[in-house]
């Protein structure tokens, strides 16, 4: 089997909800990155065979296969095809894994995988879904919204609000430090307007100086929904050993709603050599798992274990982990499933500080782990995400 190589990875800064990037269309976010990728790599786009983008809410201007649209709009060759996929929160990493599979199977030599989500412009959930709106389905499946699942995880395994807030403070500290030491400099492409004026050049949502005292003042986000919306009862019918759901998540220990995009240029060794692209890393393994959907967010642990097994590795063979901080409780759960030194996990902060643009995040964190491997001169990195509806995706890469 061939190897799949990463040649380059770029991303936009993440704009906070209805902040700087509100005015920028999701197509334009991707176009910005595609243009930068072409320029940085002096890329002959006629050699790029496909662009796969992860995007969760594929309606309105994110609908209609935004991948092909953006490729054309970026001035790429007509030869480039386009596909937009939805694996909820892991879409950006799934796009990467599909691309890797195509390259490893020898069917494609050069392509781009990425993800995009403008959560300010296209509202999360506005694409509907029978899992929450069709009574026949929602009833049988014990559907609860993600926030309830996150609180359920905390309740079931006894993660207290104090533990979660402590983790959240650390995410903010690490993100602030990362920006200070320019940990993302290699990947960040500023978003500019038609005149070339910069609209945003850094992650906008980071709140340096966040303390546990500050977080202690925040009200639980999902308590009302759990009680008035009836979802606590649903959760308890699925987990009847629990007396109640402890509502411990709030905006400060959950991922922020933001806008952003990311893309990764990847291909075969031969094509890289032919085009003079320097391989930065190769794909070791990847995985996807399904998990119980009511508690929903427990996938990263099993997905990581599965990818490790595929790669023939142990957990300590991986130098750095990026696990998407959808909610603090699922990170606690991941650490119980894959007990690793916390200094190896999300060392530059995560989505609690910088935000989680649904379709893009998986792609962003893979780029982040690669940048950090290079910065620390380490070899092996892993990325994993929990996924709505009860799934998990993980990918392991190794520098070359």
């Amino acid at each position: 089997m061939a190897d799949a190589y990463i040649f380059d990875a770029v991303r936009t800064p993440r704009g906070k909800k209805k902040g700087s990037l509100w005015e920028v269309t999701p197509t334009q976010l991707v176009v910005t990155l595609l243009k930068a990728l072409k320029e940085r790599n002096d890329l002959d786009t006629s050699k790029v065979e496909d662009l796969i983008l992860g995007c969760v809410t594929q309606v309105m201007e994110q609908g209609g296969n935004i991948a092909k649209t953006a490729s054309q709009q970026a001035g790429y060759s007509n030869n480039v095809s386009g596909m937009t996929i939805n694996r909820f929160c892991a879409s950006g990493l799934e796009a990467f894994n599909i691309a890797a599979a195509k390259i490893m199977s020898g069917q494609i030599d050069l392509m781009i995988a990425g993800g995009v989500e403008s959560m300010s412009r296209v509202q999360m959930g506005s694409d509907g879904g029978s899992i929450f709106m069709d009574p026949a389905v929602a009833f049988d499946q014990y559907f609860v919204p993600q926030g309830i699942s996150a609180d359920l995880i905390a309740t079931k395994w006894g993660y207290t609000r104090d533990m979660l807030d402590e983790y959240a403070v650390r995410s903010q500290e690490r993100a602030a430090q990362a920006w200070e030491k320019q940990a993302f400099a290699k990947s960040i492409i500023p978003v500019k307007d038609v005149n070339g004026f910069t609209i945003l050049d850094r992650d906008e949502n980071v709140r340096p100086g966040t303390t546990k005292d500050v977080l202690a003042g925040l009200n639980p986000s999902f308590e009302m929904m759990g009680a008035m919306g009836g979802f606590d009862n649903v959760a308890l019918q699925k987990y009847p050993e629990l007396e109640k759901v402890n509502h411990v998540h709030h905006p400060g220990n959950s991922s922020a709603i933001v806008d952003g995009a990311a893309v990764i240029l990847m291909g075969s060794k031969e094509m890289g050599e032919a085009l003079g692209l320097t391989p930065r890393a190769k794909v070791k393994s990847f995985s996807v798992v399904g998990t119980e959907p009511t508690i929903m967010l427990t996938g990263p642990g099993p997905a990581t274990q599965k990818a490790l097994k595929k790669a023939g590795m142990e957990k300590n063979d991986v130098d750095l982990y990026e696990v998407n901080e959808a909610f603090a409780s699922m990170i606690m759960r991941f650490l119980d499933d894959v007990p690793i030194d916390q200094d190896k996990l999300n060392v530059n902060g995560g989505a609690i500080a910088m935000g989680h643009p649904l379709g893009a995040t998986g792609n962003i964190i893979l780029g982040t782990v690669l940048d950090e491997l290079e910065a620390q001169d380490k070899e092996v990195g892993a990325a994993a995400l929990c996924i709505g509806g009860g799934m998990g995706v993980a990918t392991i890469i190794e520098r070359v």
């Binding site: 509202q123 509907g128 026949a136 009862n233 629990l242």
Partner: protein
């Protein structure tokens, strides 16, 4: 496509203005109900009106007290051919569509109860005018019977008043008084004078006369948003969760009703009614609907009408009822008796205690006034019927005396003698005991034939059941009197024979005992409680034991040990003394039992519980626990039937549902055996007997029935 007038169902007249009046008036029926004849008759009359060029429009009304009281449940539950019914329901709905698209205005002139299918006839009209009278109701109660509206109700109501509003009415099975119905948009107009009802309907035809339903007008939008709008999508999301919270998945028609609205409101009416018909048939043929209707409607109805009353005894009119003991129970009995318009004497040892008992009624009436139900006059009228006293002489002339003094044989014997000295010679003496056998108590009476047990449930004003206990010598005369009294106070009687714990207390204690057993087996306390709630019990076994009080449980168990001279090895006999004596946690009254009862906020399980009863890895699991609760209660009920404590299975069903909240979807504690199948039941019992002991031992007669696949219903 016949357009014959079926005069056994309705009359059809056209007035000089060319307005047809279709008056539903079913011959040989006490009221108008919908069955396989009613709807075709209405549709046929409607076709007649549509076809007649001289007719401008039509009014549908009723000659009975009700407009149409709902579906003929006897008819519908007797059907066996699902597909035939499906076709029939679709055809009926196509008839309604013909009526609403025939180009002539139809108006429902609502003069009385307009429920279920009756309201769906009104929905098939273009306009609804109702008589403003608080004495009747309008709505769609089908879901409460395990059914769903099958005459277009799940389609027309949401299109008329919006999906969110309609879901509330349909899924909760709401019935509204006319004023509330107007407010919610179920009807369009009210008239205060019944004589003005049909004329007003006719005037609307002449002056407005719209013959299009809103949903047949181009560019129609469902008020409040279409199914796929973000707002309504949320309504379905939360609505589904709330429905699961309420039904625990035990009452499928509620979820089917939601699906009807969700799926049907995305379709044109002619397709939508087919979706509804599919779910209607599915609901109607569900075991749950049959169980709910059989026990909840027919058998409780039969009991309420005095079905167990011995024939040939004149009906009793109670002139004066005496109540001994003005505690919780006595005070409640006085309230329900006075409320029924019967004079009563509430006697306690001190005037102060008697007055306190009477003040319970004052409190209830004040609450009713605060909620807008009562009035100062009603309060005065009720209170004037209660004579609170400490004088035995005031009981003179009582034709019924109910004693509700402490559960102490000597005390009960003393008050029996004292009372019989002053009350009417042939009066009835009733003991409200929950534990002491009646035959023994009757020994104190000079007239044991007139001595009977009346077991009320607490709180008396809310609980619908009274368990009537026959002592060995109790006469039919006394039984008839007791039943008449229970009917008078509008409660449901069941009649049982004398035995320790009678029927309800005996069976219910098996439930609480099982809960305590699970605790000893190392089950997480929350699981013990949630499994009970999810099986359909109204309260978990630990919570309800807290309410009964562990101190009392212990007392009863010890008394029984003494009476029977046998050591009690049950879980309750182990756990209750631990809780009371070791941990000083007797129950809710003391603010500490299995639960903590904080001053503010909800009760929660005592956190130390799992230290004293450590959770074990191999504890029983959720589904098994759910089955185990219902099994032990059903088995004990069967034993009551076999021993003759119960004389018929229906009483076990009615008593278990109304007395201690056995879930009605099963049909009751006897019907449960058939609900899951008698063979399966025996198999479950055998499995439990092996694991948990001989209390699950199946009686031979039941094993025989399983072998012969013979249903259990005496």
């Amino acid at each position: 496509m016949s357009a014959q007038i079926d005069n056994s169902i309705l009359t059809y007249e056209v007035d000089s203005d060319g307005i047809a009046v279709i008056t539903v008036d079913m011959k040989d029926y006490p009221t108008n109900v919908l069955n396989d004849k009613t709807v075709p008759a209405i549709i046929s009359a409607a076709r007649h009106a549509i076809a007649d060029d001289n007719v401008k429009g039509a009014v549908i009304t009723s000659a009975k007290k009700d407009f149409i009281a709902g579906a003929d449940l006897k008819h519908f539950t007797s059907l066996t051919d699902q597909e035939a019914l499906f076709n029939q329901v679709v055809e009926m709905n196509q008839g309604f569509i013909e009526m609403e698209t025939g180009g002539k205005p139809f108006v429902a002139a609502i003069n009385g109860n307009t429920l279920g299918g009756g309201y769906e006839v009104a929905l098939g009209c273009h306009h609804r005018i109702a008589w403003n009278n608080a004495g009747y109701k309008i709505g769609l109660p089908e879901v409460t019977l395990g059914l769903l509206p099958g005459g277009g109700g799940t389609q027309r109501l949401p299109r008329m008043i919006g999906i969110e509003n309609a879901l509330q009415i349909i899924v909760q099975g709401q019935q509204l008084r006319p004023e509330a119905a107007l407010k919610k948009g179920l009807v369009d107009h009210l008239v205060n004078d019944l004589d003005e009802l049909v004329p007003t309907a006719k005037r609307w035809i002449k002056e407005v006369g719209t013959s299009d339903q809103p949903w047949n007008v181009k560019r129609f939008k469902i008020p409040g948003g279409e199914v796929m709008s973000p707002k309504v999508a949320q309504v379905f999301g939360a609505g589904t969760a709330l429905t699961r919270g309420k039904t625990k998945g035990n009452y499928p028609s509620a979820q089917y009703a939601m699906s009807c609205v969700y799926e049907g409101c995305q379709l044109p009416m002619e397709k939508a009614i087919i979706v509804e018909a599919r779910y209607f048939v599915k609901s109607l043929f569900s075991k749950e609907a049959h169980n709910i209707i059989r026990t909840g409607f027919f058998n409780i109805g039969k009991a309420n009408k005095g079905g167990a009353r011995p024939k040939g005894v004149d009906k009793f009119e109670f002139k004066k009822v005496g109540i001994l003991g003005a505690g919780m129970m006595g005070a409640g009995i006085a309230y329900v008796t006075a409320k029924a318009g019967v004079d009563c004497v509430l006697k306690d040892v001190s005037q102060e205690a008697a007055d306190t008992g009477k003040s319970y009624s004052t409190g209830l009436m004040d609450k009713a006034i605060a909620k807008g139900y009562g009035s100062a006059e009603k309060k005065e009228a009720l209170l004037s019927k209660i004579n609170a006293t400490n004088q035995m002489a005031d009981l003179e002339g009582c034709d019924l005396v109910i004693e509700a003094v402490f559960e102490n044989r000597d005390l009960k014997a003393t008050v029996t003698k004292e009372t019989e000295a002053v009350m009417m010679e042939n009066g009835i003496f009733a003991s409200n005991t929950s534990t002491l056998p009646i035959t023994g108590l009757a020994e104190a009476s000079k007239n044991a034939e007139n001595f009977i047990g009346l077991h009320f449930f607490s709180p008396v004003d809310k609980m619908p059941l009274v368990e009537i206990i026959m002592g060995e010598k109790t006469s039919d005369y006394a039984l008839a009197a007791a039943i008449d009294y229970v009917m008078k106070i509008k409660k449901t009687p069941i009649v049982v024979n004398d035995s320790r714990g009678f029927f309800t207390s005996r069976v219910f204690s098996t439930f609480t005992n099982e809960g305590m057993g699970l605790l000893l087996e190392g089950t997480p306390p929350a699981l013990i409680e949630n499994a009970a709630l999810d099986a359909g019990m109204p309260v978990g076994p630990l919570a309800v034991t807290d309410e009964v009080n562990l101190g009392l449980v212990m007392k009863i168990l010890r008394q029984t040990e003494i009476d029977l001279d046998r050591k009690d090895e049950s879980a309750a006999a182990k756990v209750a003394p631990m809780m009371v004596e070791q941990f000083d946690r007797p129950g809710k009254r003391q603010g500490k039992g299995f639960y903590e009862y904080p001053e503010k906020g909800k009760k929660y399980l005592w956190p130390e519980l799992s230290n004293h009863f450590p959770t074990k890895d191999d504890h029983p699991l959720y589904e098994e626990i759910k089955t185990r609760y219902l099994t032990i209660m059903a088995l004990e009920t069967y034993r009551c039937l076999e021993e003759g404590v119960l004389t018929k299975g229906e009483d076990g069903d009615v008593g278990s549902i109304l007395g201690f909240g056995f879930p009605i979807y099963t049909g009751g504690a006897i019907s449960y055996i058939g609900y899951i199948g008698v063979q399966q039941f025996v198999e479950n019992c055998d499995g439990f007997a092996q694991k948990y002991g001989e209390r699950f031992q199946v009686p031979d007669s039941l094993r025989d029935r399983a072998r012969k696949s013979e249903p259990v219903m005496a």
